[in-house]
Symmetry: D2
Subunit: 337 residues, 4 copies
């Protein structure tokens, strides 16, 4: 029984991690922390946890968490994680960080997140926690940079076609649509029901901070530099990301062949589902699951790939637990199906 802690347990992502861990048969949650008015049972905050996890959530005390847990999930805002991660690592703990702090080289991080990186030592040791690409490294890692939600939905759908040299890499366009929890649990006017409901908008067109993360990972699967066009949109629903990704084929290819390439790339992945020819994924089939569903359309020299994930599960908390399962030698599906 591995002892785990969740730091930042009251955001949408933290709440989801706790929910998954509470049904996990190989771990025991031993510490929960967050910015709270006063220590409070997590099951009082999130009553669906009652009887599953009744631990008290309190302000972070690093010594306490270090004493209580072997592995720590950091569900913290960007720039905050890198203040705490080194302390847990120094104490010999495994750390799975859900922020962006350990995903990018220091210079790229500074450019896109507007802050100097203050833990460059550990940055070099962090493993990008996308199991479908880096399972072997994850096994041995002590610090995981858990991928962003948009990158997960896009990289999983694009990497096989790039790796197999089926598509041109200089013309990739990713048009992503996300539910509102992707923006976090926040009291912002722009996230209020009256502003989001019956509305729809694109934002940060080709300037979203997840773009360098996507480019970095897609470039790694080929010898070429990949620089996609990326447009995120905010959709009036709670959970889910659907990414529609447009490619130019390098040569003639059928949907059948592309599907075959996907299945070859993901021969036994527990959380990747390639749709049969003619079928497309939809959000409701992945909500509250750790699946990434991928559908393929070919039209002339164009391929349109549609991928669906739950932004809080495969896009955050579920993938974090998948990483933990790999790091700890558990069944990779434990807690997730």
């Amino acid at each position: 029984m591995v002892k785990v802690a969740v730091v930042g347990a009251t955001g949408y992502t933290g709440e989801e991690i706790v929910k998954i861990l509470a049904r996990h048969r190989e771990v025991k949650i031993t510490a929960l922390s967050a910015i709270v008015d006063k220590p409070m049972k997590i099951s009082e905050m999130f009553p669906s946890l009652e009887g599953k996890c009744d631990l008290i959530c309190r302000e972070l005390d690093i010594a306490e968490v270090t004493a209580a847990a072997d592995l720590v999930f950091l569900a913290l805002p960007h720039k905050v994680s890198m203040q705490f991660a080194p302390k847990f690592l120094l104490a010999g703990k495994k750390v799975i960080d859900l922020s962006a702090d350990y995903r990018l080289p220091a210079a790229v991080f500074q450019k896109w997140y507007g802050a100097e990186h203050t833990d460059q030592d550990n940055l070099g040791k962090a493993v990008y926690g996308l199991p479908e690409l880096y399972r072997d490294k994850i096994k041995k890692a002590s610090l995981i940079a858990n991928p962003g939600c948009y990158p997960t939905s896009i990289i999983l759908a694009a990497a096989p076609l790039i790796k197999e040299d089926i598509v041109k890499v200089d013309t990739i366009i990713a048009d992503s649509k996300s539910g509102v929890t992707g923006a976090g649990r926040k009291g912002l006017l722009s996230l209020s029901f009256g502003e989001v409901n019956e509305n729809l908008k694109a934002y940060k067109v080709n300037e979203h901070q997840h773009k360098p993360e996507i480019n970095q990972e897609l470039s790694k699967v080929t010898s070429k530099v990949v620089d996609i066009i990326f447009t995120p949109h905010l959709i009036p629903m709670n959970r889910g990301i659907l990414s529609t990704i447009y490619f130019k084929l390098r040569g003639e290819s059928s949907a059948k062949e592309l599907i075959k390439a996907f299945r070859k790339f993901y021969p036994k992945e527990p959380f990747i589902r390639i749709m049969p020819e003619g079928a497309l994924p939809q959000i409701r089939d992945v909500v509250s699951t750790n699946y990434c569903d991928i559908g393929v359309v070919v039209s002339g020299m164009n391929a349109v790939i549609v991928s669906c994930i739950d932004n809080l599960t495969k896009g955050a908390a579920g993938q974090a637990v998948q990483n933990m399962n790999i790091m700890c030698g558990f069944d990779e599906r434990e807690g997730l199906v």
Copy 2:
């Protein structure tokens, strides 16, 4: 052409007043103010106003507004209105206040809104702006206390039955359901999409600050003291209030007779629609209109009355303009149909 100003033009209610006034053929908007970062065209904030109202919205300057307008709408938070209303009144302006500041006696106001009333002089002169009950007084008023949204939906549905002595007044229960804009344009976590969507709750059960307003007005139509049970609920939709109101009949009565009583009480009201027997109102039929739709069910010695309004129109901005139309001698429907 009457010159009008809107103070607090950027809230949901203020925006709605401007939209209605922009299509009103007897008035000219001459000043708009709100708490803004910098002066900005109202049509830039609310692009649907483009070509209809391109006035600049700026921080409130009382002298400027006084110079520009004959009549002032105050779409301000409670306790703020009573700081400004006396100044406009002193300058001879007509004032329609959409806050609660002039609806209740000072002692009742203090009890329910937690603040001493600082403009008791004008409080005594204010007319409660429910045209269906006080049209004659509204005609001559210089200060209107525009009714609350819940009170409008409940008083209009209950007053006829109380007035005609059809129902017992000690057993009235109002169960109201409101869209989210009723809470105002605010960046609160409790109003965020992720918290409101796919959720439903009751709040302030029998303790909502609109209760004394409802009781006061219903008591006035009879010789008895009315003290209702009132439960508001927050519904995942933008606009609309549906109130389901439960009465005990004083004697046997049919739905037909109750409908007749309603039609007698509202012989020519432009914005009251009594549904035929067997029919019930729904929110979509009143959204963006100034109508109050009322349906009647009788079952044994019980009457269930369902009333629907748009909380921003008949429940706020539309009723405010209706009051203005009455005060200024315009067609009461101008701008509203």
Copy 3:
């Protein structure tokens, strides 16, 4: 390992039963049937089931289901269940029927559902499957009439106060608000997104077919005839029922005392949660759980009780599994937490 079948597996309720059973450690799903174009894996219809239940769903063949299963869930429309239940019972199977067919005496059934009851033999043997009231009978039952969703939310909140003689039984009013899945998976214009979204309505005021069921059960806990006023409303959300129930107290009582009475009535119920004084339940805390959350407000001689359930879980599929757990001697919480 008990072998179970689900007849009607593709409606919202049937889908939910399969999802719960798929994670249940004491049963094995051995047959799934529904009206389908062609036999098809249930996990192809509902991809979130993949890897959890890959059984083929086919047209109902009674002999096949009888051969395969020890216990049968009937998630069928009213009037259809009573055609099949007797056959399964005759074959010695346990049956949990989620329709209304076995909840009411034949005459009452005929009046409210407009059809003669064709299985009166078994009707007399059916046990009303509300574990909190009938656990002992359920243990020994071979035919369960699983309660309606509205009745579950109302009976659980009203029975304790009636049983303890705290409230008057001739003045009870239940105002219920339900998500759209309560109406079933159907292609009706009235259930289409464009008609339901941004809308709200009351329907079948005091004439809903769940009313006699509520009255029957509440009358049984006292010596008096209970005849409530009941108004259901349709809310633009997928799942959940919130019932606001109004009572007149028989004598002076505090919220504290009522809460005490509830806790006395439900001393160890695994799925009833009584909120502490001052707190009210909300739908998001019960969605996808089998809990019924109950909050209490007292105001003068009035009590307002707010109860929340998930209409598909405690209001249908979850309660059906809870009944199965009791019938089969499993931990009552198995599959449900």
Copy 4:
């Protein structure tokens, strides 16, 4: 006062036409027809019309409509319009058809809509009713093929860049997101609230019947053949289309220059609004308006254009009335602002 009829007045589009015409100062609605159980006041079906239009809606009687009206709106399904249009035209009426029946050459129509065209005589005379491109022809037309909703949102955003030779025409990708009313008022399971809410999907990827219409119109503004990639998506909201359109620039260009090109192409269009640099449109700013809002982002050799319309207004009913205004010599904005 021009006399107008609406055939198909009870669909979402028909309802919207009636609402707009009811506030139009130059026309009088003289006939309304639809498939109805019995003749019924349109204001009983759509209560927000009360006092604005109380005409009776009845089954179509061509002689009656011909006698009553000078101009006929056909808000009918595809393949139905072409049965009726020739009769009204023969009687000398002007016809504005909102179906696809007169938008494409007969062969293309047959390919994409699966039916032989039965009114090829009039097909040749129809004018494609996009005022921003064909105002002069519309003035003299007697038969208007009112554009589809997706095509309107895409053509208006793409035509200026193609015409000015700023972008490559062989790499255009349009990713469109539509509210649910775009699918019509229908009782289909796939449009039910429970299936659409909290869901999102792409459909008919590059195979939607609006694609040949878009290609045809974009090809006409250049000498080259345009063949876009087009993916529509269904969004859980009632109204609105947002199209995100991706172009490769032919040479280096800034957002400023593209905005300038748009403003040059649309020098005085009453319903086109080009956003300033750095700003993007959103659905809530165009809902219930006839505006098409267009925002521009340039990134390297890529341009991303975002356009927003209300699918029922500029995408259907509003544009139809705009066409009528042009045909009849009215102020083009009448009824629409």
